[in-house]
């Protein structure tokens, strides 16, 4: 009632700073329900303060608790939003199903909106001078060499290279590829750099 539940929620997400947990729909619902209970109690007591003046302080205490709950819920959500943003940079605009499952529907909506805004921005970069955009999710590391040797970790299928060559990415096959064309696959864990 006084913010204990919501703290459990936050401690949970503080423990797993590096990953995203399943959205805790049930707990959020309970916390919001408790806020409504507190609010109703306050409405009743606020109306009764004319008879019992000291109820006024009780109303103030509950109000602080309501504010606190609100702050905690927003912090929980905002923290997840920041993690979901990272998903866009690391997985791209299409999330693997097991990651998608961790998001609530509203969060998936946030992901899509974030993704669209980012895509619009990147597509417009350099448009004045005849570019059709720059993908900022590439070139994440200082370049060291133009080509690298990679090991394929999964059966991925065909990959068409810029020069028109098509190669087959099969599990455990190794390839010598242009760095610029395989960095996204490496980030997604499909290829691994060996050298």
């Amino acid at each position: 009632m006084f913010g204990e539940k919501v703290i459990e929620l936050l401690k949970e997400s503080e423990r797993n700073r590096e990953t995203l947990d399943q959205y805790n729909d049930e707990k959020i619902r309970q916390i919001i329900e408790e806020m409504h209970v507190l609010f109703k109690l306050n409405m009743n007591d606020a109306n009764a303060t004319t008879e019992n003046k000291s109820l006024w302080t009780t109303v103030q205490v509950r109000h602080s608790a309501l504010e606190r709950n609100k702050r905690c819920l927003l912090a929980y959500l905002y923290n997840r939003m920041n993690k979901i943003k990272i998903l866009r940079w690391e997985f791209g605009s299409v999330l693997p199903p097991d990651i998608r499952e961790l998001l609530s529907d509203a969060e998936y909506d946030w992901f899509s909106k974030y993704s669209t805004n980012l895509a619009t921005y990147m597509r417009s970069l350099g448009q004045d001078i005849g570019y059709n955009g720059i993908d900022l999710t590439e070139n994440l590391r200082p370049p060291k060499s133009l080509n690298i040797e990679v090991l394929c970790l999964v059966d991925y299928g065909k990959l068409e290279l810029e020069d028109g060559d098509v190669i087959m990415l099969k599990k455990n096959s190794t390839h010598f590829l242009p760095t610029s064309e395989c960095q996204t696959l490496i980030r997604q864990g499909i290829l691994k750099q060996i050298t």
Binding site: L66, L74, M81, L136, P142, P143, L146
Partner: protein
Amino acid sequence: MDEEQLDLSGEEEEITADVVLKTIQTSWQNERLSPEILPHRNDMVECMLGQIQHMERNINKLPKTDLRTSIHKMELSRIKYIICNYLKTRLEKIEQNCIIIINDEKQRIESGTNYLTPLEYRYAQEHLLNIEHHLKQTILNQVPGNMQVFEINKMSTVPNLQSHVFLKANETVHGIVLEDHFGDQDEEIDLEEGSQHILQYKFIADLVKNGKVQLI
């Protein structure tokens, strides 16, 4: 391929490609190391993008196995890294502090001293709308009546201008005042050309913007 003389947005002053590159490099380094977003250098970025495009066209004319092809490609990938990282760093700051950045930017636009590019500004506004929409949808519209307000002042995070940064003086600057918050005694120091220091960003924020110091 001839050395390019680049003409910047029709101004009289001509500027060579290597100077543009150095400027971008410096802006990138400062942007990475400063707590606040710095005035954009879109002129330089666009100029360099044009240069890259021009160079890529020329590379395509060279035989694939030509040694020069790989040298040029390597240089281009180095420059692309800087540009991408520079723009990405700015986006991160914009997202992080979008409320305060939008507020400050509104005033700066009026006085014609904007820090963001029009694209960045649009991105920031859209980002804030998205945040507000999601928080309302999930929490604020569900909580009891007087708790529903999106309190923009509370939500706003500000860059910590008091954070400590490392710098190198590009030229001598006298009389930097290290203000003392506790009423004891302000201290005054000189930054001699080439000297290096660690101090609060806010004391030298202007010097970063006018190029008298470089963050390291």
